[in-house]
């Protein structure tokens, strides 16, 4: 794959891969106006891997649809790979790959035919389109299914085919809308690995949307948290979380012991303490490093905890901290991780 990639030399644009200025989109249906995206100001550099994270309805797809020329903005502007998404649609389309929420490959078609046809659409010669399709089939492990009707493929296979379709022309910017939604955990993990590898190998800019916290956390160098059509945070996952501190949860024999321990722990600088019956939550920076010392102190004071848990902050905690709502509330498929407790605690 690599030699072919180098052969295509159109990386002439040097500015940021994506710039948006006050990008806004309203929908009006039945006289009701939905402000799907509200004044998005964003700059994404070439080669970045960015995740838009937000609950369903946050405006992620609408943003991607504007950036990929599918719908025009109501207000504001955006450029992708140096081309304006309204006035230079064809240039934008030539430069980008798009893997939408549905299936890019037609259900009545054969996978390989779709790859070739997509290559032809991007101006490859018949021979080049065939060669490129063969490369992608090989690279994305589609050999066993590429010559079958798309409707007979499994969800994971179809998703890989969709991604292959988005890569046919070695796009400078690749957009993926909820790439792993609907996949089982194993396939989701494989897909994340694939995206990570493609990004590392190609040096393309990759923008994906997700409502899976773990996905944004595991994949992206940069996480743009979106809610109600606005960006509410934009940083690396590590930095977003480091502001919050670890959660140290201590269990005691009785509520009285918990209250006494809380009084002792008042001294810990910059800590937030919540007592709920015999249980005590302490949120503090570097809590995992402090916990040994804390236990020694409490034991010396005669209130040794009977149970200790330390949890690193998650992106859900970040979202909760910013919005007062848990992102997991909107997810039906995820494992129950006790996040509801955390939610009531901080919301209180």
């Amino acid at each position: 794959m690599a030699p072919y990639r180098r052969a295509m030399t159109y990386h002439h644009h040097t500015g940021p891969a994506i710039v948006t200025r006050g990008l806004t989109r309203h929908f009006t249906s039945r006289k009701q106006t939905v402000e799907a995206v509200q004044g998005l100001d964003l700059e994404i550099g070439q080669g970045e891997l960015v995740a838009f994270l937000g609950p369903n309805g946050a405006g992620k797809s609408t943003t991607l649809r504007m950036l990929t020329t599918l719908i025009p903005p109501t207000a504001g502007s955006a450029s992708v790979a140096g081309h304006d998404v309204v006035t230079a649609q064809r240039d934008v389309r030539r430069a980008i790959g798009f893997v939408g929420q549905g299936n890019g490959a037609g259900h009545r078609q054969l996978g390989r035919d779709e790859l070739i046809s997509q290559g032809r659409a991007h101006g490859l010669s018949r021979a080049d389109a065939r060669r490129r399709a063969a490369e992608l089939v090989e690279d994305l492990d589609l050999a066993a299914v590429a010559d079958r009707k798309v409707s007979s493929l499994s969800g994971g296979q179809r998703r890989r085919l969709d991604i292959a379709m988005g890569l046919v022309h070695l796009p400078r910017v690749l957009f993926l809308d909820e790439p792993s939604t609907g996949l089982d955990p194993q396939n989701r993990a494989n897909l994340q690995e694939l995206i990570r590898r493609l990004h590392a190998e190609s040096g393309s800019t990759v923008v994906l949307t997700t409502h899976y916290l773990e996905e944004a956390d595991a994949l992206a160098g940069r996480v743009v948290v979106v809610d109600h059509g606005r960006v509410i945070a934009d940083d690396t996952a590590a930095r977003l979380k480091s502001g919050l501190g670890d959660l140290v949860r201590l269990g005691f024999g009785s509520p009285g012991d918990a209250a006494r321990a809380a009084a002792r722990l008042e001294r810990v600088p910059d800590a937030r303490i919540e007592v709920d019956g015999p249980s005590l939550d302490l949120r503090v920076k570097d809590g995992s490093a402090l916990v040994g010392e804390l236990l020694a102190d409490l034991t010396a004071d005669g209130v040794p905890p009977s149970r200790v848990e330390v949890a690193r902050p998650t992106l859900d905690d970040v979202f909760l901290d910013l919005t007062g709502r848990s992102l997991r509330e909107t997810q039906s498929t995820d494992s129950p991780t006790g996040s509801t407790e955390i939610e009531s605690e901080v919301a209180a």
Partner: protein, 249 residues
């Protein structure tokens, strides 16, 4: 080759892939006209002077097959709108007009296959095959199919993926178009209003020209009107279709 031609050929080839791979689907799509043929043909009255009724009826069935096949085709686009592959094509550099024109042109192929099947089926019976006339009629019907196909795609785009809307409108228009064109029964002697509707229906002229050509005759005025009727459908269909495709998102 211009980008438009290249894109159109690309879109048309893609649409034809399933047709070549599963030609039986083309036969299944014409079950209804074939049933009409089988049921009605024995009921047809004998005509005067050795004219077989089949000779009159078959061209109508051929036109009906063309109309049905092409008017159903929007359902394929609808499916692609729902699955996401239409969206994928919209994000590719393929021109909007090519996305519509390529699809509409493809309609000619299944139509020709169906005409061939009908002619093969009826030739052993009291139907005289005039090959030149059939081929000339196929040209007129090709124009007609392109136009009807384009209108069907426009309807699919306007329905925004709502199946019920597409099928309701398609079915509502289909049978009046067939009946007023005189496909199954002659419109001669019908009430005045029906005659007017029939005169305004471009398909009427397509059917008349097909009948004349299938009979091995070449009345220039009838054939010219048929070409004009089909041409109007094609021009209107492509104009409306391209407009709908440009607005598609």
């Amino acid at each position: 080759m211009s980008t438009f031609v290249q894109d159109t050929v690309n879109v048309m080839n893609r649409e034809l892939k399933p047709v070549w791979r599963e030609p039986m689907a083309v036969v299944f799509a014409m079950i209804q006209p074939l049933v009409f043929l089988g049921l009605f043909a024995p009921l047809l009255p004998e005509m005067a002077a050795g004219d077989s009724a089949l000779q009159w009826f078959v061209p109508g069935i051929v036109a009906m097959t063309a109309l049905m096949g092409a008017s159903f085709t929007g359902a394929n686009l609808m499916e692609e709108m729902q699955s996401g592959s239409h969206e994928r094509q919209l994000v590719s550099p393929l021109g909007r007009p090519a996305l519509l024109v390529g699809r509409a042109l493809k309609e000619v192929v299944p139509m020709l296959m169906q005409v061939a099947i009908i002619v093969l089926v009826v030739t052993p019976f009291s139907f005289d095959l005039h090959l030149g006339g059939v081929l000339a009629a196929a040209l007129v019907l090709s124009l007609f199919s392109i136009g009807i196909g384009a209108l069907s795609f426009a309807l699919a785009l306007a329905s925004k993926g709502e199946d019920w809307m597409f099928w309701t409108i398609q079915q509502t228009l289909l049978f009046p178009a067939l009946l007023t064109a005189g496909v199954l029964l002659p419109v001669d002697g019908a009430p005045r209003w029906l005659e007017v509707v029939s005169m305004l229906n471009p398909m009427t002229y397509v059917v008349d020209a097909t009948r004349a050509l299938f009979a091995g005759t070449f009345p220039v005025d009838v054939v010219a009107q048929g070409v004009l009727g089909a041409g109007i459908v094609a021009a209107l269909g492509l104009a409306v279709g391209v407009r709908a495709m440009r607005r598609s998102s």
